[in-house]
């Protein structure tokens, strides 16, 4: 311990011996750390905002469908709805998973909407409002006109469609839909609210009460197209997905194939690919940081060994073991890493706080004014610090080993 402290003292003094060089390398490492930390904080915030917009405004964290539904989701296939006994099995499984905050049963359908002068097509969600608002907590916030009660007989219309058909809250419209047997049915609705669009699939669909959807499709008991889940924590997605797969994976249909399919938001939204690209960019930025650390430390340490050859010869001659000489130089590399990390994290923290105070806004799809809220994540600080420090040590191994292997006689002869 005492030796380690002395080793650190000697290493620190050797670094301070070449102040300008040490400052330059520490700054270089610090700039790398700042770049990574700020980039990660900004992209993480951007990702989180968009993902929460997608999941909390409409999609949910996980969805369960009848097997084969997802590939046909654009056609809104009524013949691939979940039957009541299937729904019961799913609900029984959901109730055993404590990480699930809420779930909503949805009946999706396609139909025609008419304001008695114009007609156009529309896709609808039949929902139980109370459950749906728990599962998609940002949905009520999307209602830019009217109320979120969504009582039977009311419809929430997407703003683009309402604008195109000159509809406003309180207007009367007719929805015409074909059920899975081919018979057509129509029902009058009162416009209860106008919805702002949400990013992602289904973000421009309307909402009606599930009992109205069942009546429109002439179902005695409402079938369910999908069950959307909202979890207590976004981080629980993999664990809940695994539990659901285990609990429902054994349920087979008449053909002996799995009866249900379970998908996380990543399978349901194209933004997942953008998120993956952002993650990939983060990896590249980290690789850049590692490269900066390796090159700068390797370079400066090689120079240091070259300049201090005679000194190394002296300490070797008086009996310092090669392993201790190795450790002395590695300690210098370690201190380079630590100084760069401390400086880099400190400046990153200040930059992130400045960015928070600037309330930087951006838009995504139809959503505008989303505020970027970068956070200085303690785990990423620890990880990046650890990576930089480990790389600093690794980068100093080669010059340190060169120092340890120096022939004392040759080293003492150098001027």
């Amino acid at each position: 311990m005492i030796n380690m402290l002395n080793m650190i003292k000697i290493a620190a003094r050797n670094l301070l011996r070449y102040k300008r060089r040490t400052l330059l390398v520490s700054l270089l490492i610090a700039i790398g750390v700042i770049f990574v930390q700020v980039f990660m904080a900004a992209t993480a915030s951007y990702k989180n905002i968009i993902i929460s917009q997608i999941t909390d405004a409409m999609l949910g964290h996980i969805q369960i469908h009848k097997k084969g539904y997802l590939v046909s989701i654009e056609n809104v296939p009524l013949n691939l709805n979940l039957k009541p006994h299937g729904v019961e099995k799913i609900e029984a499984a959901l109730k055993t998973i404590p990480e699930i905050d809420a779930y909503s049963k949805r009946l999706r359908l396609g139909g025609m909407i008419s304001n008695f002068t114009e007609t156009t097509n529309l896709r609808l969600f039949g929902i139980e409002p109370e459950q749906e608002y728990k599962t998609a907590p940002l949905l009520p916030g999307r209602i830019i006109e009217g109320k979120s009660d969504l009582e039977p007989g009311q419809i929430l219309l997407p703003s683009t469609l309402a604008k195109g058909m000159h509809l406003k809250v309180g207007d009367l419209i007719v929805i015409i839909a074909t059920n899975k047997d081919g018979s057509v049915n129509g029902k009058q609705f009162l416009v209860g609210g106008i919805l702002d669009a949400a990013p992602g699939p289904g973000g421009r669909d309307g909402y009606i009460h599930i009992s109205d959807a069942a009546e429109l499709l002439r179902m005695e008991t409402a079938e369910i197209s999908e069950i959307a889940l909202h979890l207590k924590s976004f981080k629980d997605i993999p664990s809940v997905y695994a539990q659901l797969t285990q609990k429902l994976g054994g349920e087979l249909n008449k053909e002996g194939k799995p009866a249900f399919e379970i998908h996380t938001w990543e399978k349901l939204s194209p933004f997942a690919n953008i998120a993956k690209m952002l993650d990939l960019m983060t990896v590249f930025v980290k690789v850049m940081l590692v490269t900066i650390v390796v090159i700068s430390i390797l370079d400066v340490m090689m120079m240091s060994v070259y300049e201090r050859t005679r000194e190394i010869g002296t300490i070797a001659a008086i009996g310092t073991l090669p392993s201790r000489i190795l450790a002395m130089f590695i300690t210098e590399g370690l201190l380079f890493g630590i100084s760069g990390v401390v400086l880099g994290n400190l400046v990153s923290y200040i930059i992130v706080r400045i960015m928070q105070s600037m309330h930087i806004t951006f838009s995504f799809g139809m959503r505008e004014g989303l505020v970027l809220n970068p956070q200085f994540d303690l785990w990423s600080v620890l990880w990046i610090s650890l990576i930089v420090i480990v790389i600093s040590v690794i980068a100093s191994v080669q010059p340190a080993s060169k120092a340890a292997r120096l022939d004392p006689i040759k080293a003492l002869k150098t001027t």
Binding site: M7, A317, G319, L321
Partner: protein, 233 residues
Amino acid sequence: MESVTASGLYKDYQMGKLTVNALKNLSFSIGSGAFVSFVGPSGSGKTTLLNLIGCLDKPTQGKLNVAGVDVTGLNRKQSALFRGENLGFIFQDFNLIPVLTVFENVEYPLLMVRKTPAGDRKKRVLQLLEEVGMMDQKDKFPDQLSGGQKQRVAVARSLITHPKIVLADEPTANLDHKTAYLIINLLKRMRDEMNTTFIFSTHDPKIVGEVETLYTLEDGELNNGQERGDKHA
């Protein structure tokens, strides 16, 4: 007891295709507490011999016993351990560690080589600094010292581990006449107090005049040691 015994010692260097016989069939014996010097012109093999005794190099042939140990078979790590345990070094250019103070330079072998406990370390360093007259400079760094002061610190560093043998390669070459004598007297006093064997390699007539045994090397060959009388005070 003998400090160093050499028998049929050879050292050859390969310079390209040419083999240089740096030392040829050297046999000698240096007793414990001796104050001896190897003299000879440049290239005569003085430093090569000192390097062999200092376990910094290995003979091509022959036997070399230092402080009771056959050092010809030691590997790199064993050599380093042996040097730390038994030998002290004084260099022509002082070779102090520039980032350490006078106190820390002297303390270094105890701390990084011997792992001596802190209390004992401090006591020994202060005692030795007092002996070499550097106590009042103990917090200074090497670049704040004169040549003579630096060499006194180097002497203290070489003796801090109570080595059996101190090897000094041209220790007074970079010192003025007066300072050189001060250093030589200091070394003799240290020898008298600690019974340490001092082996010099030098051209300096000041040292030559003070040593008890003088070995002359010429073209790698050793003339018989010339006894200069017992100057042991």
